[in-house]
């Protein structure tokens, strides 16, 4: 039978979906790894980038630092981090090494977009906000962030899609997630499983992308027009 036929058979076989190494479980694991790393990146990079954007200072420096996470090959980061923290699981986030590597990967697009978005808010709005008597903090949270909202979501979207795709390499360091199908399938020369796994990753990435595009449009329509 053709490879595509075998892939179809693998994906439609109920046994492929069941149990601790089934597709359902792997999908949930994958979603968990990606979600936690992306949220962590937002929490770490978001406020700093927004504040620096508000001040319109240290943007280049900040972006260069943030970009370390993308300049180094994620695979190399993963192997290095494993040497330090091992392959164990942490509460909530799952495999710690993968979480750290994925967070590093998610930080650059979030930092860049938040900084650029906030820093490029039109001077007229900034002046108006100041004219209304807003404090510096209020200007940022009530004027600049809402105006820059679509760009902030764009950063989140880029980060999320990258992390969904890249979290597969965690399987090399013993994590769960959809990468297991790719790594294990390859090791066992079970190519339908490799392609099936790849399709699932692509599917998840597309869904994540579409959802955030919808959010982007929504916040775009509902935020003040420039």
């Amino acid at each position: 039978m053709s490879l595509l036929g075998d892939v179809y058979e693998w994906m439609t076989d109920a046994d492929s979906w069941r149990g601790n190494s089934g597709i359902t479980h792997r999908l949930v694991e994958h979603a968990r790894y990606t979600a936690t790393a992306t949220i962590a990146a937002v929490v770490i990079a978001g406020p700093i980038a927004a504040w620096l954007g508000h001040k319109r200072r240290f943007g280049t420096l900040g972006m260069n630092i943030a970009n370390i996470g993308q300049t180094l090959p994620t695979f190399a980061i993963l192997v290095l981090v494993v040497q330090v923290v091992g392959t164990g699981d942490a509460p909530v986030v799952g495999p710690l090494a993968l979480f750290l590597a994925m967070t590093l990967l998610a930080i650059p697009p979030i930092f860049t977009n938040v900084y650029t978005g906030v820093a490029n808010v039109d001077d007229a709005y900034r002046d108006a906000a100041r004219g209304l008597g807003m404090t510096s903090r209020q200007q940022l949270l009530r004027a600049e962030v809402p105006i820059a909202a679509p760009l902030l979501v764009t950063g989140l979207r880029i980060a999320l899609v990258q992390v969904i795709a890249t979290a597969t390499i965690g399987a090399y360091a013993g994590t769960g997630g959809l990468g297991r199908f790719i790594i294990d399938g390859f090791a066992l020369q079970d190519y339908p499983q490799v392609f099936g796994g790849a399709l699932l990753v692509a599917g998840l990435a597309i869904i994540g992308d579409r959802v955030l595009v919808a959010v982007e449009r929504h916040v775009g329509v509902n935020s003040p027009r420039i």
Binding site: N20, H25, V28, E29, A31, R32, A35, T36, T38, I39, V79, V82, Q83, V85, G86, T87, G88, D89, V92, V93, G94, P95, P146, A149, A171, Y172, A173, G174, G176, R180, I183, D184, F186, A187, L188, V211, L212, V215, H218, V219, N222, S223, P224
Partner: protein, 330 residues
């Protein structure tokens, strides 16, 4: 109003992501729980002969991830190569393969028939005889940890074992000694080369020629006269369908026939083997009194085994542990 919509949208997203995050707890943490329960339950030292369970964690084939996981305690048993330098570096305990699961992989000199002589083999056999797996691991450690030069490592080892100056019958002529392209091979080839030099032969070193696919044909063609081989891997190379015995003598007998067809003769096999083996840290070995692979069956806790992703389907790994050692691998 607009702001409220924005908040609602982002909140929905966060909740969705959060739900995914808390969705499950992963397999290894549940394994830890099982282990904890087993510890409390199995305090009394009544020895169960079989039925011990190991959880499998897919990592790499004796590579950096498996070793890091063992060092960090994420796994307790690791599948690595028996002569790996890190076994000596970290003082890990290589569990004896007492039920003979792994096919023989002893080091053996492969010699081009036209270059062969009884005196040449006597010199090579003198090197092979004292070369055990522990000795080989130590030589590998000197190379990878101390960064010593393979010629210097070989020189010191030969002197220690009183093989140089060579006491046997002298040799004449030039011999081309080859090796494949990894560290252990270069050390062993250097051992051969220096003994042969001490025996009076002129040695032309052709090391790091490539992998077996390059070096084996080079020997057959006579581009080199000899190089260090491994019984099992060489057998598979010459006949990929061959079943490799775990007994060295039987494996060598089979290989001798296969090699003869290619105009290659073999020296005596060294005790040293570079094959798959299970290691534990010395702390784990002490805690559970482990020295042999079969001792794993007496462990009450659920230990975690780290190895290559294909382990569950391979006879040298999970399948063998189950069939030969009666262990359950989950």
């Amino acid at each position: 109003m607009r702001r409220r919509l924005l908040y609602t949208a982002s909140l929905t997203l966060l909740v969705a992501l959060g739900a995914a995050a808390c969705g499950d707890d992963g397999e290894s943490s549940s394994a830890t729980t099982t282990a904890a329960v087993a510890t409390t339950a199995g305090g009394a030292a009544t020895t169960a002969a079989a039925g011990a369970t190991l959880t499998f964690k897919p990592l790499d084939a004796g590579g950096p991830l498996t070793k890091a996981a063992l060092t960090k305690g994420d796994i307790q048993v690791a599948l690595v190569f028996t002569s790996d330098a890190d076994i000596a570096v970290n003082k890990w305990i290589l569990l004896e393969d007492d039920k003979k699961l792994q096919p023989a992989e002893n080091l053996i000199p492969a010699i081009k028939k036209t270059a062969d002589s009884a005196n040449l083999r006597a010199a090579l056999d003198a090197v092979s005889k004292p070369l055990t797996t522990a000795e080989l691991t130590e030589l590998n450690r000197q190379q990878s940890q101390d960064k010593s030069d393979s010629a210097a490592i070989a020189k010191a080892w030969l002197a220690k074992n009183k093989l140089v100056p060579y006491a046997g019958t002298k040799l004449t002529g030039t011999l081309k000694v080859g090796s494949t392209n990894f560290g252990e091979q270069e050390i062993v080839a250097e051992l051969y080369a220096q003994v042969l030099e001490s025996a009076g032969a002129k040695v032309d070193r052709k090391f790091k020629l490539g992998n077996r696919e390059v070096v084996a044909p080079a020997l057959e063609k006579g581009d080199i006269d000899l190089y260090p081989e491994y019984v099992g891997s060489y057998t598979s190379f010459l006949n990929k369908d061959a079943t490799i015995p775990t007994d060295v003598a039987a494996a060598v007998t089979q290989l001798t026939t296969l090699a003869a067809a290619k105009g290659v003769v073999l020296g005596a096999a060294a005790p040293a083997e570079d094959k798959n083996g299970f290691v534990v840290t010395s702390a784990t070995a002490t805690k559970y009194k482990l020295a042999k692979t079969s001792d794993l069956a007496t462990v009450k806790d659920t230990l975690v085994l780290g190895g290559p992703p294909e382990c569950p389907q391979r006879p040298y790994c999970a399948i063998g542990l189950n069939k030969t050692y009666g262990l359950t691998i989950k």
